[in-house]
């Protein structure tokens, strides 16, 4: 009997083994190793030496550039994520209308997200915002002076934020699915009662969408913290000007593979994990106050 049970289970184990093996090799073991390295001075080329918490303490006490990268990343996340969600919802609502070409529109609007994170788009973005780029040409045509997007540290970060907003596709799709799930009767009924567009939006659409918003918020928050490629390409790998685009992951990368300080980089990675963890927990905790689940009597 035992062997039969085992044989039954074996099938299950076999089916999940690709995931389990992959998880062990590519996630768990490297994560454990990086935790170990984060307590060492390790330069990739010779063996690590244990230094205790020094990496963690020097991060906050003697590394101005680290604090700068933290600041830039926070700005990027707290500006970029809300804007991106608002924009995604906006586009989703447009695409939720009944038009014959709606399939085409959806494809077209989703395209940026497929190619969005890629190098090509970052390079295109660099050209768009260049001195004679189309953004400056448009600004000039309405009488505004050109902005030195790559020269001005604040403008450079803003440029990264707009790039992130533009890659709204995946959250937009999820919003779209959420919008489709809102029963049309609610709108019809409120219409009968004389509700206008804004009332419908704030009293029906938004509350009904809150679970979706929560999901998107958390996913986008996490992915925004990990943003790397655009900053790398646009600042030519250095996070300039004046460390204005020195996103956390870019600085981590520089510590690891340019300065060969793998121990420090590992410590940075763990601090980021903690920060993201805390933020996610906070979002979950506050979600009781604003997320509306229909199935649980409104809560």
């Amino acid at each position: 009997m035992k062997s039969l049970a085992f044989r039954n289970n074996l099938v299950g184990y076999t089916f999940i083994s690709p995931f389990v093996i992959g998880f062990l090799i590519f996630t768990l073991i490297p994560a454990a190793a990086s935790l170990y390295f984060s307590f060492t001075d390790y330069d990739l080329l010779s063996s690590p030496s244990w230094i205790g918490l020094e990496n963690y303490t020097s991060m906050f006490t003697s590394d101005d550039r680290y604090l700068q990268s933290l600041k830039v990343t926070m700005l990027y996340v707290f500006l970029g994520v809300p804007l991106r969600l608002i924009f995604a919802l906006f586009v989703a609502m447009i695409l939720n209308t009944t038009s014959k070409a709606v399939g085409l529109y959806r494809t077209v609007y989703y395209l940026p997200s497929i190619i969005g994170g890629s190098v090509a788009v970052s390079i295109m973005w660099r050209n768009l915002f260049g001195d004679q780029g189309i953004i400056n040409v448009m600004l000039n045509s309405i009488g505004v002076d050109s902005v030195r997007w790559f020269g001005d540290p604040n403008a450079a970060l803003f440029m990264l934020v707009t790039l992130s907003v533009w890659q709204f596709g995946s959250s937009m799709l999820i919003f779209l699915a959420g919008l489709k799930n809102i029963p049309n009767e609610l709108y019809e009924a409120s219409g009968v009662d004389g509700a206008g567009f804004f009332t419908k939006f704030f009293r029906i659409t938004l509350p009904m969408l809150t679970p979706i918003i929560l999901f998107n918020l958390i996913m986008q928050l996490i992915s925004a913290f990990m943003t790397f490629v655009p900053a790398y390409i646009i600042s030519k790998g250095e996070g300039g000007p004046l460390d204005g685009t020195l996103l956390y992951s870019l600085y981590l990368f520089r510590q690891a593979f340019v300065f060969f300080d793998m121990g420090y980089a590992s410590a940075m990675a763990w601090v980021m994990l903690i920060i993201v963890g805390i933020l996610t927990a906070v979002v979950f905790a506050t979600s009781k106050l604003w997320v509306h689940y229909e199935s649980e009597g409104g809560r």
Partner: protein, 439 residues
């Protein structure tokens, strides 16, 4: 953790990280495998495959591949797989390979990274091959010692360079200046800059901080790093203030472009020297030819600034070819390096692009083949040989991080966000912080 297991873990960590950034770090990287010449057994030797990596521009990639092809026709049993990239991507690719003990057999190494790789035992000592696989009869002791670290030489010097100002006399004339005085001084330089500014022309695009600050310190008898490589080699922060203060003043006065103007330059077509709105560029002699070709007008060399130019100037190895410590075919790799450095046919393809050749015979052989601008480079380096002092020891471990800090501080200085005095202090603390690890 057992050593083998650690290696595996590391390789995985590195590959996971590289995977996450794959697009970013591999842009502009190419990988090619040459035709397998081992099949047409020429000498009857057993087939050997070498991996070789370098960074550079398109021109360098093209002629290096031709040199490799030439080597293959003479050594049909050897196959050389090539990996090349631009400078930044190259180092990001090499580092994880080093961690995984997968470095190429032959790799190009920059002086800035040299101590990092050689000092940590990643590179093979070449001295056993000198006089055997690598013929050094025509190479001066001095040139060979450019790659000396401790008791070993871990890189073959591929050519020498010298610092200078590469300028366009036509633009200089537009700026209202007839010529640059022979042994020009800081005062001459600043007055030319002022005149240029009056005529709406930039003097230069700035001096690369780590290179020229090092030069400036040498002119006053100091060094950027101390002997042991665990601290700075100068005590008086006023030297920093004097040097960078002058340069920042040029930016402030409009005689040199601001950093945000420089940030807009995407390629050679935007270069202000090419467009004729900037007199010249401070750079290494091997960069002259490419700039001259882009400018496409006659250009000239001016030496570095006085006083103390003779003490300040030095001949620097442009780059090294090193053999990885883990290479299984070190002798074969050494043979190729020898071919690269000593073979006349090969050097007719290289034409001094990696710096003026270290072999005196090759230097003579090349002379009739050189273009006029290449002759200028050779002449300037020959002049520098007479008018320079021995090079400092190779940059210590951590030099790259020190450079990054210096670069960022001078950027802040040129944006007017920090005073020269504060930048000097900050640089000292940041640099000492990095270098103290070498104690």
């Amino acid at each position: 953790m057992k050593k083998q297991a650690k290696k595996v873990v590391l390789a995985l960590m590195a590959s996971a990280l590289m995977l996450a950034t794959a697009c970013g770090s591999n842009a502009g990287t190419n990988s090619e495998t040459g035709t397998n010449a081992g099949t047409n057994s020429g000498g009857g030797d057993k087939p050997i495959t070498l991996r070789m990596a370098w960074w550079g521009s398109e021109t360098r990639h093209e002629y290096t591949k031709k040199v490799i092809d030439l080597y293959k026709t003479k050594n049909p049993n050897v196959t050389i797989e090539v990996e090349y990239a631009n400078y930044d991507d190259y180092w990001k690719k090499i580092a994880p390979q080093a961690a995984a003990n997968e470095l190429p057999d032959i790799m190009q190494i920059d002086t800035g990274y040299y101590a990092q790789y050689a000092g940590k035992g990643q590179l093979a000592d070449l001295t056993p091959y000198f006089g055997k696989e690598i013929d050094v009869t025509n190479i001066s002791e001095n040139a060979l010692n450019g790659g000396k670290l401790g008791d070993g030489v871990f890189g073959m010097n591929l050519g020498v360079n010298s610092l200078g100002f590469h300028y366009d006399p036509a633009t200089l004339a537009k700026a209202g200046v007839d010529s640059i005085p022979e042994n020009w001084s800081w005062d001459d330089y600043l007055s030319i800059a002022a005149k240029a500014k009056e005529n709406g022309i930039y003097i230069d695009s700035g001096m690369r901080a780590e290179v020229f600050f090092g030069y400036y310190l040498r002119t006053v008898g100091k060094k950027l790093y101390n002997e042991a490589g665990n601290g700075l080699g100068y005590e008086d922060d006023q030297l920093f203030v004097d040097f960078f203060g002058k340069l920042a003043d040029l930016v402030k006065s409009g005689a040199a472009p601001t950093p945000d103007t420089l940030a807009q330059i995407k390629g050679v077509e935007d270069d202000m020297t090419v467009k004729g709105t900037q007199i010249g560029v401070w750079q290494w002699s091997n960069q002259f030819v490419a700039l001259q070709q882009a400018v496409n007008r006659p250009m000239k060399f001016a030496p570095a600034l006085n006083p103390g130019a003779k003490e300040g100037l030095y001949l620097k190895p442009s780059m090294f070819f090193s053999i990885s410590k883990n290479s299984k075919a070190k002798e074969e790799a050494a043979k190729f390096i020898n071919f690269f450095v000593n073979d006349p046919e090969a050097n007719k393809l290289i034409l001094g692009e990696r710096g003026v050749p270290v072999s005196s015979v090759i230097k003579e052989e090349l002379k009739p083949l050189l273009s006029p601008e290449q002759v200028q480079v050779f002449d300037y380096v020959a002049w520098s040989e007479e008018n320079s002092s021995p090079m400092d020891p190779v940059d210590p471990i951590g030099a790259i991080e020190v450079f990054a800090s210096l670069k960022s501080l001078t950027e802040q200085l040129n944006y007017g966000q920090i005073s020269a005095e504060d930048a000097a202090k900050k640089f000292r603390s940041e640099a000492e912080n990095v270098l103290k690890k070498n104690k």
